[in-house]
């Protein structure tokens, strides 16, 4: 156990790209324990009994007290305090348990956004950066829901470029207060929040600082509710700070550390968003599967038709991939937090450092989770046919509510760029050795291809493919760095290509590791369906890598070099033929029999 622990904790963020991971080292959702399952059940019961009956009323925004009352009830159940330490009135649950609750509640439409804004970006800055006095003052009330929180970072002129905010915090002459002035927008929970985490620049600082602002301090003015495409029931307003007088002791962390707080809180928010998207996707897929079983056309359920079955299977395959990778990364984070704590770091610091270490994976999962959800709701509408377009049927809300996920917590474009940027920065700093493996790939291209022995062992083809996929990324990323050098940061199209390759490879590897672990746990016969999911995933990922890689290479290479790289890429993105039609048929059959998402 000791050696395994050591091995697990030794993993660094981004290292999957150059290292082999063993299935024994990954966590899969099938391993949740009884207590975690009970917590998930409580979240699900809460949605069924308290939230779903109210979705229409919530979205109509005619009863402003409705959403806060749901948060109060969530507080009574303890759902707001999962990740708050016990000494501050919470339950001190570990990171991965918080992820599971987030996943389940993620199917809660507007409520999901309200609760995650409260527990995540609203509460976490105090959990992670607050001093003892701040924690003692605020966390117990945030845990019960007596106080509700929101997070004020974005400004009209400062979205993706968060550090460019204009909101000012001027110290009073006695140094006991700051006077905050500025305008924030898209502030979730603003309508009923008691606590605002506000980012502002002190005097002429270059960097942001963060403050805990109580509404009762005065000088906080709210605009009307924004009219939104989806998540209509979640309160979103502009917040104006007009000579808002904040005690100096309400600064979080230190002066100028606000941007770092914002970034780190967003890291957590990103991977949690992926969990929430997975939860929402499962719900939508289940609704679509059920409808396809009930809807009769040409005398048969539409779930009997291949075109529909393809859609159902594809939804499930993508959900399975996002879920596998999300929990794999979550466990990496958990292990890191645990390792730092064991070294004597305090809990908040350990969590921050643990998440920061896996910021690359957080960004990747944010992109994948939100795009899987958008795929699932889109196909959900399609499975519903004409009824999918009716505002009376459930797909309308699911479709509209999903869309924001590709935008908030950093747009998917920003997160793609961050993914590549962080990988390269870590390579430059020598934290992950990319250069050696990248050079090895170049050498391999020059050499005679090693066709190797074909092994028929289970997972042999996938393991080989994963090694090759990673070589494809190194080939393209390595060449891009060499060719474009400092220009690369501006070549956003190429960054998008590389990010897509990284994300898809991470997904494929995570699916493979989960399937391998399931075979080890349950035997090959019982895990056949997961092998199907894996093979279709590999089939499709290989093609996606080829397309992304080709587009990147063709944009910056020419002549013999371009030809050689394309040949190499072709070789690295090869996967054995898979009868994806039959595999999807089997996956769909299982879904249809179970009448819900069941993997």
């Amino acid at each position: 156990m000791d050696t395994m622990e050591a091995k697990k904790t030794a993993l660094k963020g981004g290292e999957w790209l150059i290292k082999e991971t063993s299935y024994q080292d990954v966590f899969i959702p099938e391993e949740f324990d009884e207590e975690q399952r009970m917590i998930a059940q409580t979240c699900n019961d809460f949605l069924q009994n308290e939230v779903y009956p109210l979705v229409e009323r919530l979205d109509s925004m005619q009863e402003p007290e409705l959403m806060p009352s749901l948060l109060d009830k969530s507080g009574e159940l303890g759902l707001l305090g999962l990740n708050i330490p016990e000494q501050y009135g919470g339950f001190g649950k570990d990171f991965i348990t918080g992820m599971l609750a987030t996943e389940v509640l993620g199917a809660g439409h507007s409520y999901a956004v309200a609760i995650s804004a409260h527990t995540g970006i609203g509460t976490l800055p105090i959990v992670l950066y607050g001093n003892d006095e701040q924690k003692a003052k605020y966390l117990p009330k945030l845990a019960t829901g007596e106080w509700k929180a929101s997070y004020c970072l974005t400004e009209p002129g400062s979205g993706s470029d968060a550090n460019s905010g204009k909101t000012k915090a001027m110290p009073t002459s006695d140094g006991k207060h700051y006077i905050i002035n500025g305008q924030k927008m898209w502030i979730t929970n603003a309508g009923f929040a008691d606590i605002f985490i506000v980012f502002a620049k002190v005097e002429d600082d270059e960097n942001l600082s963060a403050f805990i602002v109580e509404k009762s301090f005065g000088g906080v003015r709210l605009n009307a509710e924004e009219k939104k495409m989806g998540i209509k029931g979640s309160s979103t307003r502009q917040v104006f700070f007009e000579d808002c007088k904040v005690p100096a002791e309400n600064m979080l962390s230190t002066r100028g550390n606000g941007f770092k707080i914002a970034v780190n809180i967003l890291n957590i928010g990103r991977i949690k968003l992926s969990a929430a998207a997975v939860g929402a996707s499962k719900k939508v897929a289940s609704v679509a599967i059920n409808y396809s079983n009930e809807r009769i056309q040409f005398g048969r359920s539409i779930s009997k038709y291949g075109a529909i079955r393809h859609k159902l299977a594809e939804m499930a395959i993508r959900i399975f991939g996002a879920e596998s990778a999300t929990y794999r990364a979550s466990q990496n984070i958990e292990d890191r937090i645990h390792a730092y704590s064991t070294e004597g770091m305090d809990a908040a610091q350990a969590e921050l450092k643990g998440v920061e270490q896996f910021a690359i994976e957080c960004a990747m999962m944010k992109v994948e989770g939100s795009e899987v959800l958008d795929f699932v709701v889109d196909e959900g509408v399609q499975v519903y046919g004409g009824m999918g377009y009716s505002a009376e049927a459930p797909m309308d809300r699911a479709y509209r509510d999903a869309r924001i996920n590709r935008i908030f917590e950093g747009t998917n474009e920003i997160n793609r760029m961050l993914t590549v940027d962080m990988i390269l920065k870590r390579a430059m700093k020598g934290e992950i050795d990319l250069m050696g493996p990248a050079q090895a790939v170049v050498n391999e291209l020059m050499a005679i291809p090693d066709f190797g022995d074909e092994s028929n062992e289970l997972f042999a083809a996938e393991k080989k493919a994963i090694t090759q996929f990673k070589k494809a990324i190194l080939l393209v990323a390595g060449a891009a760095v060499q060719k474009l050098m400092m220009q690369l940061a501006k070549e956003q199209e190429v960054l998008m290509n590389i990010a897509d390759m990284a994300i898809k490879t991470y997904i494929a590897e995570s699916v493979m590791l989960r399937a391998e672990k399931l075979v080890a746990l349950r035997g090959e016969a019982a895990a056949q369906i997961y092998i199907d999911i894996m093979r279709v995933t590999f089939n499709d990922v290989a093609d996606k890598l080829w397309v992304s890689g080709k587009n990147a290479i063709n944009s910056f290479a020419e002549g013999d070099e371009q030809k050689m790289m394309i040949i190499g890429l072709k070789r690295f993105t090869k996967f054995e033929p898979v009868n994806t039609k039959e595999a999807r048929q089997r996956i769909a059959q299982k879904l249809i029999e179970e009448n819900r998402y069941c993997f």
Binding site: E34, M38, I39, Q41, T42, N49, G78, F91, N595
Partner: protein, 247 residues
């Protein structure tokens, strides 16, 4: 006042029902089990409410089952029961289960034994009555409302469209039905406390079941629904007469 609540595990309503061993056994593989809804939502929750009202006493749960049923037991503990008794045996039939519960209850000082009106798997609705008979106590079913007044219970029972108001002295066995209480979602405190609440495992006493299952059969598939135009009553009459043969 100590209350004993009998709980049973049942397949989740979305479970696929299948049989093995030549249709003589229920196929429990891949079946998700839950606490029988009327045991959980009505019997257990009302017991907890009564304890909260009275401010004294203990709510214990009892089930007949093997170690794998501890998950169901902990769910009930998470909802708020104080402790649990598991009679370590497969629940062979209603008489076997009732005998085990009665045998255990005899040794304790319960004033009230609550069961759900019926389980959603076999729907026998027998255990409550049998427990009462074996203990020599009064039995009321179905109970849609339950209050305790000093040494007696006051029950409202909806039968045949009427509401009977009944009183009985304690100790008494009552089978709880809809209306008695509302589902309680286990909260975090309860879930975490459930881990440390005691589960007493009691070996079964020797009693033979009275019922043996010979064979399971699936009900015949439901025929599709035929829609008849409201203007075409003759067709409706013809269908009812010729096809459904009900008129």
């Amino acid at each position: 006042m100590n209350i004993l609540v009998c709980i049973s595990k049942v397949p989740d309503t979305t479970s696929k029902i299948a049989f093995t061993d030549n249709n003589t056994r229920f196929d429990s593989s891949n079946v998700q089990y839950i606490v029988n809804p009327s045991d959980e939502w009505y019997a257990l929750v009302r017991a907890l409410e009564l304890k909260e009202q009275l401010g004294t006493g203990k709510v214990s749960i009892i089930t007949v089952g093997l170690a794998e049923d501890d998950a169901i037991i902990r769910k009930a503990l998470a909802i708020g029961a104080d402790d649990a008794i598991r009679i370590n045996a497969l629940p062979a039939d209603s008489f076997f289960v009732a005998s085990q519960i009665a045998e255990y209850a005899k040794t304790q000082d319960y004033k009230l034994v609550l069961t759900g009106k019926e389980t959603i798997d076999y729907n026998n609705a027998e255990v409550g009555g049998m427990v009462a008979e074996l203990l020599g106590w009064e039995f009321i079913t179905p109970a849609n409302k339950l209050d305790v007044e000093s040494d007696k219970v006051r029950v409202e029972s909806e039968l045949g469209g009427e509401i009977l108001v009944l009183e009985a002295p304690m100790p008494v066995v009552i089978s709880a039905a809809k209306g008695m209480a509302d589902q309680r979602i286990p909260n975090m405190r309860g879930i975490m406390a459930a881990r440390t609440k005691p589960i007493t495992v009691v070996e079964p006493f020797n009693v033979a079941p009275l019922v043996a299952i010979q064979k399971f059969e699936m009900p015949p598939a439901k025929a599709g629904v035929k829609l008849v135009d409201p203007e075409n009553m003759e067709e409706l009459v013809r269908l009812l007469h010729d096809e459904a043969k009900v008129i």
